[in-house]
């Protein structure tokens, strides 16, 4: 390797190792039985992986898998609804001129700056008043409007849909709604996949909202479930192996999503933000 490539490459590898090491450690720690966890060397694999797995499986009647399914539901349905709402709103904001357009856009975008804490607690109180706290809706509904996704959808719509196509459609007598789902949404699909992925990860990783909203542990997502497992294990390190194995299993789906959907993992914060 030529010398001028050595330093940047070394620095990049240092970053890669720093990022991979904790994941590698969890991978190895999950293979250790309770006894091995505190005695074996940190990076020596143990022999307890399948034991840990069946223990996790048996823990409170397999509640871990319940958490996994809940998380998939929250993230899958939530991201899908959020992407649809963002797509239609972004499209309307990009394509039509109408009274109040700027006001609506600025209001929606202003939501980006509102700290989630200001929202989560009153959302809980309000949902409790209508009897929706501690239900699946309590975690799904507050995440559907995502200001940043609406902004991205508007940028994508403006970039992907040529005005001439819409004019041609109108001359052919297609209605606006029909044009939206036959012409415009298909053209926005690559951008919408990106929006979906980022929302999916955001919901999958969310802790504060479900932590506040849910009391019933059969409705927990993985983050809250593993947290409560850790808290109840604070005085009994015997549960550490369960927490470690659960942590490993809970990040596998997202890592698979990362590796398979690589070309959609891009984000362009600047392109429209500063120019429009």
């Amino acid at each position: 390797m030529p010398r001028r490539k050595l330093l940047p490459t070394a620095f990049l590898l240092f970053g890669a190792v720093y990022c991979l090491l904790p994941v590698g450690w969890v991978l190895i720690a999950a293979t250790k039985s309770r006894a091995e966890l505190f005695t074996l060397d940190a990076f020596t694999p143990g022999s307890g992986f399948f034991g840990n797995l069946s223990e996790l499986n048996a823990y409170r009647g397999g509640i871990f898998w319940h958490w996994m399914l809940n998380t998939a539901l929250y993230a899958g349905v939530g991201a899908l609804l959020s992407t649809l709402v963002s797509a239609v709103s972004g499209y309307a904001l990009a394509v039509y001129r109408f009274r109040g357009r700027n006001l609506i856009f600025n209001l929606l975008i202003g939501g980006i700056l509102v700290p989630s804490v200001v929202l989560a607690i009153p959302q809980y109180l309000l949902l409790a008043k209508v009897g929706l706290a501690n239900t699946y809706w309590a975690v799904l509904l507050p995440g559907i409007v995502h200001p940043y996704s609406i902004y991205l959808a508007r940028v994508y719509a403006a970039a992907a849909i040529p005005a001439s196509i819409l004019d041609a459609g109108r001359i052919d007598g297609a209605g606006e709604v029909r044009m939206l789902y036959r012409v415009s949404l298909p053209m926005m699909v690559p951008g919408l996949v990106t929006i979906f992925l980022f929302q999916f990860v955001a919901i999958w990783n969310n802790f504060l909202l479900p932590y506040i909203m849910l009391a019933d542990d059969t409705k927990f997502p993985l983050t809250v479930g593993l947290y409560t497992l850790l808290v109840s294990g604070a005085n009994q390190p015997a549960l550490y192996t369960l927490v470690l194995t659960g942590s490993l299993l809970s990040i596998i789906p997202l890592i698979v999503l990362f590796l398979t959907m690589q070309r959609y993992w891009r984000t362009d914060l600047s392109s429209g933000a500063v120019k429009s």
Partner: protein, 316 residues
């Protein structure tokens, strides 16, 4: 047609001008607007309302009618800002945030520039690896690092032991800020790197060709050309990071379960949570969250104002 030439953003305008779109855009925006009113506007208004009220207990405080809500003006705010512990939590977050913002955004910038330069091998592997922690929820990341900080388990302690250093506790209050900052840096560098890298890839390559022909080194191109191009993206990632940092909650809350060195009010948001759900004082929690929101807005707008001229001058 005798209408004047349309402005640039009028290129879609025909349908709307002809009145054919009519209610259509409002129809398309209706779900977002309704949900925004219900889940953004209403909660914000409700927080503001609660922050001005308090429960008054009359008599012995027994029975149903003995507790009622009264209007107390700014009393809750007065209590919040005269609470010394609240300001100590801000000082802790300020220290934590300074470390996170400089290290995380610094690393993200350097990695993005390295990935975009011609002078690197294994770029794909590096990019995917550094982005990977983004797939790890904050709770799990804190859990992983928490275990890595535990003296009884940690390879860090084993390594320190091997070189003869023994009495380090990574969860000790004196270095807790750095241990917590490390979790945020680990989790956030990849995302910010990707944002900056995407912006760099979107820049036409011939911007750099002339400089390269003139014999500029990769480092000179990075500092003189690429960083100025990236400034708007750097500003936006900084603002998002500032907002996220001020609301830090998940990491210290998770670490609390394996360490007793973190108080229940270590960060401002943890105090809000404690007030609302542990001590049951929603009114103080509401006032405190309005203060947190106000401080975040002031800091992010202040930052934007301070850098605006420099960052966006050539974009107008």
């Amino acid at each position: 047609m005798s209408t004047p030439a349309p402005r640039r953003d009028d290129r879609y305008g025909k349908g709307a001008r002809a009145g054919r779109a009519g209610a259509v855009p409002y129809l398309f925006l209706a779900p977002a607007i309704v949900l925004f009113l219900l889940f953004f506007a209403l909660p914000i208004g409700y927080t503001a309302y609660l922050s001005l009220r308090r429960t008054r207990v009359s008599g012995l405080g027994l029975g149903k009618g003995s507790r009622h809500e009264i209007f107390v003006g700014l009393d809750n705010y007065k209590d919040a800002i005269t609470d010394a512990e609240f300001w100590r939590s801000w000082v802790r977050v300020l220290g934590y945030g300074t470390v996170v913002l400089t290290v995380m955004l610094g690393l993200a910038l350097v990695f993005a520039l390295i990935l975009d330069s011609e002078a690197v091998r294994l770029a794909r592997f590096g990019r995917i690896s550094i982005f990977l922690p983004y797939a790890v929820p904050g709770v799990i990341a804190s859990l992983m690092w928490g275990f890595l900080y535990l003296p009884s388990l940690s390879p860090i302690h084993q390594a320190l032991h091997a070189v003869g250093v023994d009495d380090v506790n990574l969860l000790d209050p004196s270095i807790l800020t750095f241990s917590l900052a490390n979790i945020a840096v680990w989790g956030g560098t990849g995302f910010n790197m990707l944002v900056l890298y995407t912006a760099l890839r979107a820049t036409p390559r011939d911007y750099y060709e002339a400089a390269r022909i003139d014999g500029a080194s990769e480092l000179q191109i990075a500092v003189r050309i690429k960083i100025p191009i990236l400034l708007p993206s750097i500003v936006l990632t900084t603002i998002f990071s500032i907002i996220a940092t001020m609301q830090v909650f998940t990491e210290p809350t998770t670490l609390r379960s394996i360490s007793n060195t973190i108080s229940s009010t270590w960060t401002p948001l943890m105090k809000v949570y404690r007030d609302a759900f542990v001590t049951g004082d929603l009114y103080s929690a509401a006032a405190t969250s309005v203060i947190i929101a106000a401080i975040s807005l002031i800091v992010s707008f202040g930052f934007l104002r301070a850098v605006r001229k420099r960052a966006f001058a050539d974009e107008e």
